[in-house]
Every structure is written in structure tokens, then in C-alpha cells.
Symmetry: C2
Subunit: 130 residues, 2 copies
């Protein structure tokens, strides 16, 4: 099955978890280290388009990721007016340091496949989804 994120094809090396209805991936332009995305396989724009099974699995994945990562901001930009740039509903998971101060890299460049693959492999071994 091709894995889509909006109109984009997502490579296997970007994905660190797959469920039945949803998946989690690293970010091509993370604003902080381990800025991750969780979304449904089904390409739907809005949070309200998700069915109950998708909601349940998606949020369970978010729960397990935040349990492993520690303090996080979890955010959904639901609609273009809310800053959504890819019309495919997704949770952002943004780890927060102990200081609470996030040093955001707003000029982040597109990362290489090697960089994303390395982070994804680490997350696969690090995050406990059970």
C-alpha cells in the first residue's frame, strides 16, 4: 500500500510506526528534535472527517509516543486558517525541554534521507507501543 501524506508519497524510512489505520513519521523540516507527525492512512483533511476507529488508533499512538518522549506539545492545525499546510489531518508531537523553552529552528532545511532514516530507526527501538 502506498503511504500518502496529502499529495506526497512517504518513504518507508520516514515511518517509525504503522498501525491498521494510521502511521507515525519523522518530519522533513522539524522545528525541534523529534518533532513527529501522526496521521491516518486515509487522506482526509479535517479532524472531524476521522471515524471512531481512526481516532482511537491515532490517539493511542500519540499516547504511546508522548509516554516515551516525556513533556510534549501536541497540536492539530485543523484548517488552512489554523496554519494547516498539508490537507491531510495530522497530529504534531513537539517535545519540550525541561526548561520549557523551545528553541525553534524556523529556517530548517529539508533533511536528507539518511538523517530521517537514522531518527526513524532510533524511534522504532525507543518508543514502546505496547
Amino acid at each position: 500500500m502506498a503511504v500518502k501524506f496529502g499529495k506526497w508519497d512517504i518513504h518507508e524510512y520516514e515511518i517509525f510506526w504503522k498501525g491498521v489505520l494510521s502511521y507515525a513519521m519523522v518530519n522533513t523540516k522539524p522545528i525541534v528534535k523529534n518533532h513527529l507527525l501522526v496521521c491516518p492512512f486515509r487522506v482526509v483533511q479535517s479532524f472531524c472527517d476521522l471515524n471512531k476507529d481512526e481516532l482511537s488508533e491515532l490517539t493511542f499512538a500519540v499516547s504511546r509516543i508522548t509516554r516515551s518522549l516525556g513533556p510534549c506539545s501536541v497540536a492539530i492545525q485543523d484548517g488552512r486558517e489554523a496554519g494547516q499546510t498539508v490537507p491531510h489531518v495530522h497530529f504534531h508531537i513537539i517535545p519540550r525541554p525541561e526548561t520549557g523553552i523551545v528553541e525553534v529552528d524556523s529556517n530548517a532545511k529539508q533533511r536528507t534521507a539518511e538523517e530521517m532514516s537514522e531518527e526513524s530507526s532510533h524511534l522504532k527501538s525507543f518508543i514502546n507501543f505496547s
Copy 2:
């Protein structure tokens, strides 16, 4: 059953929706109009403490609220370092105007019971939870 939000007692007039495991309320100090909160009845601090049934019902409520309100930012501050001030996990729902620009009232005062009751009554009639 007393409805708690962390150590706080929440009045009936603040609540516009109750499920089996969770509820939705207006905000005492909203940063924008209709800045709402959704949380479990059970007082737990972290997103990862929620069980599957709580996650399912909570996110279904968020889905129905955003369907009615239109474009929204949906956010969870998971942990003190992420800006969580009440140690009781909750979703913020923050409507976004068509311009995408939110005029945040960062000096919002505690609202009166009448103001909150009025908003809550409107939301009860406005938001379709079916």
C-alpha cells in the same frame, strides 16, 4: 458526581457537554471567543494516562466541536514544561478566524458566571454531537 478540573470544582453552568467518561466546558479566561476545553472526568495529569475508552470519547467530542466551529487549533500541553498549568489532561480548542490571525487577549480577566453560562447555553444548542 462532582466534576473536577484538577483541584477545581467545575460548575454545571460552565459545562456544555457531558459524555460517559469526559466533558467539555467553556473557559474562565479564554484567549479568544469560544476557546473551549475538553477533558476526562477522571483526574489524570498526562495524555498517556488516559485509557482507550477515555481517548475515544474525548477525541470524538473534539471532532464534533471542531465540525461545528470550523477551523481550529487543537492543542494539548502535556506536562508542566509544555505549559500545562492544571495537572488534569485537557484539549484546548481555539477557533481561528478566516484571516488566520488570532487576536489573543493575553490579559483576559476571570469571567462572570453569567458570561460563562450564556456561552455554555449557546454551545449546547449550537454544537451537534450526534
